[in-house]
């Protein structure tokens, strides 16, 4: 039921975005390949389907490596290239380790974007589009600090250490805390828990032992956000403030019920939808403008922020509008500032 509602919501976004669809290349075959199975990427599947429907792309298929493991992803990418896919949206299994297979894609006539996570420069990927994870974590922590009244102790629960974004998030949370001149301290960072079992184990164990010492929780990965929201609901004490990430139903319900103060929405649907659109445009004769306003991050000098927005109890029922808004803006920005089409 949840997934049906999500599908309808995402389809609604795409319908409203379908203004100005241009000629597409039916030979464009896009593969959307995450680093492994993870709920964050599930929106890519619908995004690919909608891109095919809306832009007339030949194919835009969501293909998931069977494990969150670099060699599995590389093997899948090699196989997809052999199957005739010519455009790739890839969440890099490793910021450097994925580069050789992307190089092979390019050498064999394909093109690739790093999506939701970046490859380290120099890279054969055209550019990187994803959440500015550092900014998202920073803004989320600032919202948490505000909810905490500007003082107290924070616990930070985050994702896989092999994810190139994790260290950026850890640093950003610390930066927001440091700006309070000692009024707020990050007393615990628990990483490598973006899977149900380790998240349940470590978050529940930590809160069982140290809940009294914690004034706020910031989570910067999907599964820890869900687990921490559930844990706070079980504890039943709304003293501990929390800012989560993403749009899992558990987190959204906890915001409505007051156990979580808000969440930092990312835009996985927009990444897949606009990424497919851009790759098709590039195959159809468009080029990337010399003057394209790239942002920079720790890994690459060609970064595009796919958008992030803070949603609290007052906006939780209209979060689809928020996602629709940032996806529409993202596509318009590409048409206006990044793509040069004859």
């Amino acid at each position: 039921m949840k997934s049906a509602i999500r599908t309808l919501a995402l389809s609604a976004i795409s319908t409203l975005l379908l203004a100005g669809a241009a000629t597409a290349d039916p030979e464009t075959k896009v593969a959307l390949v995450p680093g492994g199975p993870h709920p964050y990427f599930s929106a890519w599947e619908q995004a690919g389907k909608d891109a095919v429907k809306d832009f007339g792309i030949g194919a835009a298929d969501y293909r998931v490596p069977q494990k969150w493991e670099l060699s599995q992803q590389s093997q899948l990418l090699e196989s997809l290239l052999s199957q005739g896919y010519n455009s790739f949206l890839i969440f890099p299994g490793d910021a450097v380790g994925t580069t050789p297979v992307v190089q092979e894609i390019v050498e064999n006539g394909g093109q690739a974007l790093a999506l939701a996570g970046c490859l380290k420069d120099p890279t054969p990927a055209l550019f990187c589009m994803g959440t500015d994870v550092a900014n998202s974590a920073y803004l989320g922590t600032k919202e948490l600090i505000k909810a905490m009244g500007g003082k107290g102790s924070i616990a930070h629960f985050t994702g896989f250490l092999v994810d190139p974004n994790t260290q950026l998030r850890i640093d950003a949370v610390q930066k927001a805390a440091d700006e309070t001149n000692g009024a707020v301290k990050v007393i615990q960072v628990i990483a490598d828990i973006d899977a149900p079992q380790p998240a349940e184990e470590k978050i529940n164990a930590y809160l069982a032992a140290h809940a009294a010492e914690v004034d706020g929780i910031v989570t910067t990965a999907w599964v820890p956000a869900v687990t921490a929201a559930n844990a706070l609901r079980k504890i039943g004490d709304k003293r501990i403030k929390m800012v989560g990430i993403d749009h899992d139903e558990v987190v959204l319900k906890a915001i409505k019920d007051g156990f979580v103060n808000g969440t930092m929405l990312q835009n996985p649907y927009g990444q897949g939808y606009v990424g497919s659109y851009v790759l098709d445009k590039l195959r159809s004769g468009c080029t990337i403008k010399e003057s394209a306003p790239w942002a920079k991050n720790a890994l690459t000098a060609k970064f595009v922020d796919s958008g992030t927005v803070f949603v609290d109890a007052s906006q939780v029922d209209t979060y689809v509008d928020a996602m629709r808004g940032i996806t529409k803006t993202l596509k318009e920005n590409f048409d206006k500032d990044f793509l040069a089409c004859k």
Binding site: V64, E69, L70, Q72, L76, S79, Q83, D94, V96, G97
Partner: protein
């Protein structure tokens, strides 16, 4: 190439016909037929399957899986096993990254250094197995966690991403414009191992010790030392496999073999067991291991390209291992009846 320690069961008088029969009934011949059939099947269904890049990619993966299979084969010879091959391979790759990137040592020093480190970890396994008398399953189950845990602690799970460009270039290198250099390395090691087991005294002693430790001991073979040597060889080959994976990705990544290195276990057992190496020890199939890895990878690549769900492929490989183990059991009974083991 199967290497047997016992005299042939078929009398010499049977001549050429029996030799042909022996080849036709060999495990290797069966695998060659299966590989050809599987390849023809997938190539007829999938236009991209026999494309140059596809063949190169399959060949490269065969090279890596063969080396992982050799690592396990070297210890299966003793009738034991080594669950820590993945942990050793990753640890050696991380040592390679440390030597190269942090210490700035040239590849000519870093590569042998990493292989020696792998051999050292294997030696620790072998020494523990021989001295304790505990089955290698238990010892290497423990060492898998220890090696991997220490590696994660020391590296803080950080990859070495600043390796010399020659490392990634090796992973992409095509010999003659077609054949992966990593496959060529495995073929070279295949030849070296075949010579080792067939023509060297140490190789024959290892096989004798694996076939029947008591008989070998009575014959003057120091089986404990042989077993330690086998584990050391396993460690060295696992390290080489780790370096090959590093070449493929251009970085030494702690997660290259999954949690605790467990992702290597299936290919490690599949290739030698499919190839005809007896799980009870004493008989190796070096060329068979190469063919076993080739068969597994042709099937895997074909299923991937057929878009059979990626999650089903692992189940398919598991079924293949089960079938191979049952075939191994049947082969063992047959060989015993013929007086070969």
């Amino acid at each position: 190439m199967s290497i047997e320690t016992s005299p042939p069961a078929v009398p010499e008088a049977a001549g050429g016909t029996s030799q042909i029969q022996k080849i036709l009934f060999s495990n290797e011949f069966g695998l060659v037929v299966l590989i050809v059939l599987a390849f023809a099947f997938f190539a007829s269904l999938l236009p991209g399957f026999s494309a140059p890049f596809s063949l190169f990619a399959i060949g490269r993966q065969i090279g890596i899986d063969t080396m992982i299979g050799f690592a396990m084969m070297a210890v299966i010879v003793t009738g034991g096993l080594d669950l820590s091959v993945g942990a050793i391979g990753v640890s050696a790759a991380m040592v390679f990254g440390w030597l190269c990137e942090r210490l700035g040592l040239p590849l000519a020093v870093s590569i042998p250094g990493a292989i020696l480190f792998g051999a050292l970890l294997g030696t620790i396994n072998g020494y523990a197995v021989v001295r304790s008398g505990v089955h290698s399953f238990i010892i290497t189950l423990a060492s898998m966690s220890i090696f991997f845990g220490v590696m994660i602690f020391l590296t803080k799970a950080e990859a070495f991403r600043g390796l010399p460009p020659e490392v990634a270039a090796l992973g992409r290198l095509k010999l003659g414009g077609k054949v992966s250099a990593l496959l060529a390395i495995s073929v070279a090691v295949c030849i070296a191992l075949s010579v080792f087991y067939r023509y060297t005294t140490l190789g024959r002693r290892v096989l004798a010790a694996g076939a029947n430790p008591r008989a070998a001991e009575v014959s003057g073979v120091r089986t404990g030392r042989m077993f330690i040597a086998c584990h050391a060889l396993t460690g060295a080959l696992a390290a080489l496999a780790g370096l090959m994976v590093t070449a493929r990705t251009g970085a030494a990544v702690p997660s290259m073999a999954g949690q605790l290195g467990q992702d290597w276990l299936l290919p490690a057992f599949l290739a030698p067991v499919l190839g005809g190496t007896l799980l009870s020890g004493g008989r190796v199939a070096v060329f068979g291991t190469l063919l076993g890895a080739a068969f597994v990878n042709v099937i895997t690549a074909g299923l991937l390209q057929l878009r059979i769900g990626e999650f089903w492929i692992q189940a398919c490989l598991g079924l293949m291992l089960l079938a191979a183990v049952l075939a191994d059991r049947g082969r063992h009974v047959l060989l015993r009846r013929r007086g070969l083991v």
